[in-house]
Amino acid sequence: MEKSYLNMDLLRFTTAGSVDDGKSTLIGRLLYDSKSIFEDQMEAIQQVSDRKGEEHVNLALLTDGLRDEREQGITIDVAYRYFATPQRKFIIADTPGHIQYTRNMVTGASTANLAIILIDARHGIVEQTKRHSFIASLLGIPHIVYCINKMDLVGYSQEVYDEVVNDLEAFSAKLETKDVRFIPISALMGDNVVHRSENMDWFEGATLMHTLETVHIASDHNHIDCRFPVQNVIRPQTTEHHDYRGYAGRIAGGVFKKGDEIMVLPSGFTSKIKSIDTFDGEIDEAFAPMSVTMTLEDDIDISRGDMIVRENNKPEVSQDIEAMICWMGDSPLKEKGKYALKHTSKDVRCMVKEIKYKVDINTLHRNEADKVIASNDIARVTLRTTSPLFIDQYSRNRNTGSLILIDEATNNTVGAGMII
């Protein structure tokens, strides 16, 4: 085997579709046609399908991992699937279609480069299509691929496809997402999933697999605004490294180079990067999402929660945060309520100063009258934190623009925030 894997990169995607859109079948098809399903897995689900008297091998059984899910035939929680082609490794965040929908899709979407949104060719855009699209856009997924599925059930008709695409184009113009694509497929029959369809020679675009393999993801990370949240301070305290003081973290944005002038927040002290160290030796530059350790020319007091940036390109330093919050708590979001807040490597507390409006995630309408924010609702809020955060807009940087809220009584994660 040639060592092509040394040049592979990694694409994370999420799949969304309403209950009968064929999501499990599509995932099964991607795994099966890319030879990522093993014989013992196939044998196991075949046995279960036979025992239940099902006609086809139920590919959904591959993705339903918990006993309750199999017994009730539902998917409860986000599951992660993996496959690879010689070009790329793929991580699928497979989110359930109904229960706790928003919460799970937001979770899956938070780390995704790309969203596949499935549409039944017979029905076109439905309410859930809008909801899925809105969440993908809100969570800043850079690429959306609409798969118009079940083309076999509409006679592989170009007319039907064009009509759905026209509607989708009109609708998706309202979204933040810039890269939107459309592919006519049949997940059941395999048309345009991995192999090009012979039934739709009128379609000149790429297959889904080819799209996944070639979509440009290098610019999904912010390589402009230098942001280095300090995670740990490395002090070996050995004779060899007696005075070593390194700052460990994962680059959240921009490109840092040895010799760069930097500023440390919140202190505002400036210095130069003396070295960027890794276990494999010193490197000249580091970019998102690399984990590295930096040393500085000057001895400055820096600890976890601080951020190393460039003096001429600083994040906003603020205690007043405007954000869209996806609520996940069992009890509603409380106006004037206090929560623990995590932002990059910083832990603070916050108060919800104001709930401005609730978003109707089917129509995108703002409802300023309804401020009861229950689980799976999305709301625009103003937060006041106990100490300043170093923030960017979420649309500019998903690392420094995101935060989570934690219920201090239960320690549960109850809110996902996108900074505006």
């Binding site: 040049n7 093993f38 993705t63 929680d77 992660y80 740990n232 070996p236 160290d277 999402p289």
Partner: protein
């Protein structure tokens, strides 16, 4: 590939290092579970990278069933000595001797399940508030739903239907007294990623991962190594076979595969063309459809 794009192995490495560093920042007394298998060896390698040039700031813990392949223990001790790690051994034999566990009986007896008691005891006795391990989501379907930071109640139990949402790379390790976390830095790695990484990083692994000749017998279609801990039935014929192991667990329930792959390159080629998952040789998973889920709920690793 653009100059500001990482390879999949570098991105997985960076993610795992980030997770391990979060553990050290968020917990007071973490530990890395170390079985001597390839996944825990990779985790330890990543931990060394995370804190370089400082030493790894937590100990390793081996939950020892006493039913080991000798090569694994020799390898473990050499690695510990060479890298100056701190090793804690939790003994299943001791749990049995103290009456906390009862040995399974019969030809299929295994101490795999008994590890849970020893593991939870060791966590409590050493006051560990976080146990990191090398479990991967691609290994088993119950594990596909596991979080990076996985909360355990004060009985060490996992509640799969009530897991904390995990967004972006912001990990919530907050907990009450007596509770602990299990953290899985290599959640997103597959078996293939592990092998490619071991090759790319030139990481040493125990010799039993490579093809060798060993006395074996076949049970339920799985090749088992002949050891002192496994009773063979009269119908099971012990004979020398050319095999290697894809996973290293308790010798009583870890199957070998017939293989001539003697180098990492050959193993990668074999894994790429193989059509059976690595846990296909683990009889502990075959006990029922939800065997792993049930063990995990009780606190199994």
């Amino acid at each position: 590939m653009g100059s500001y794009n990482l390879t999949h192995l570098k991105e997985l490495e960076s993610e795992a290092i980030f997770v391990i560093r979060e553990v050290v920042a968020q917990f007071e007394n973490p530990v890395l579970l170390f079985s001597g298998g390839k996944d825990s060896i990779v985790c330890y390698h990543l931990a060394r990278k995370a804190f370089y040039p400082a030493k790894v700031p937590f100990p390793l813990m081996h939950v020892d069933t006493g039913h080991n392949f000798p090569e694994t223990i020799q390898f473990r001790d050499k690695l510990i000595e060479e890298t100056g790690a701190r090793l804690i051994v939790g003994s299943v034999q001791q749990s049995i001797d103290e009456g906390k566990s009862t040995e399974e009986k019969g030809v299929n007896a295994s101490r795999n399940k008994l590890q849970t008691v020893t593991l939870l005891d060791a966590i409590e006795n050493n006051k560990f508030d976080c146990a990191m391990g090398g479990a991967r989501r691609d290994e088993e379907k119950a594990r596909a739903k596991e979080r990076f930071f996985s909360h355990r109640d004060d009985f060490g139990q996992w509640d799969p239907k009530n897991q904390r949402p995990e967004l972006w790379n912001t990990f919530n390790g907050k907990k009450n007294m007596g509770e602990h976390f299990r953290v899985f830095p290599i959640s997103n790695w597959t078996e293939m990623d592990i092998w490619q990484y071991i090759l790319a990083e030139k990481i040493d692994i125990p010799s039993i991962y490579f093809s060798h000749t060993r006395d074996c017998f076949v049970r339920d279609g799985v090749i088992m190594g002949k050891t002192d801990f496994v009773e063979t039935k009269d119908t099971e014929e012990v004979q020398p076979m050319v095999v290697r192991f894809r996973t290293i667990g308790d010798a009583t329930c870890t199957g070998a595969v017939a293989s001539t792959a003697a180098t990492l390159e050959e193993i990668i080629e074999e894994v790429a063309s193989t059509r059976v998952t690595e846990r296909g040789g683990r009889s502990d998973d075959k006990r029922s459809e939800a065997a792993m889920e049930d063990r995990k709920k009780e606190g199994y690793f």
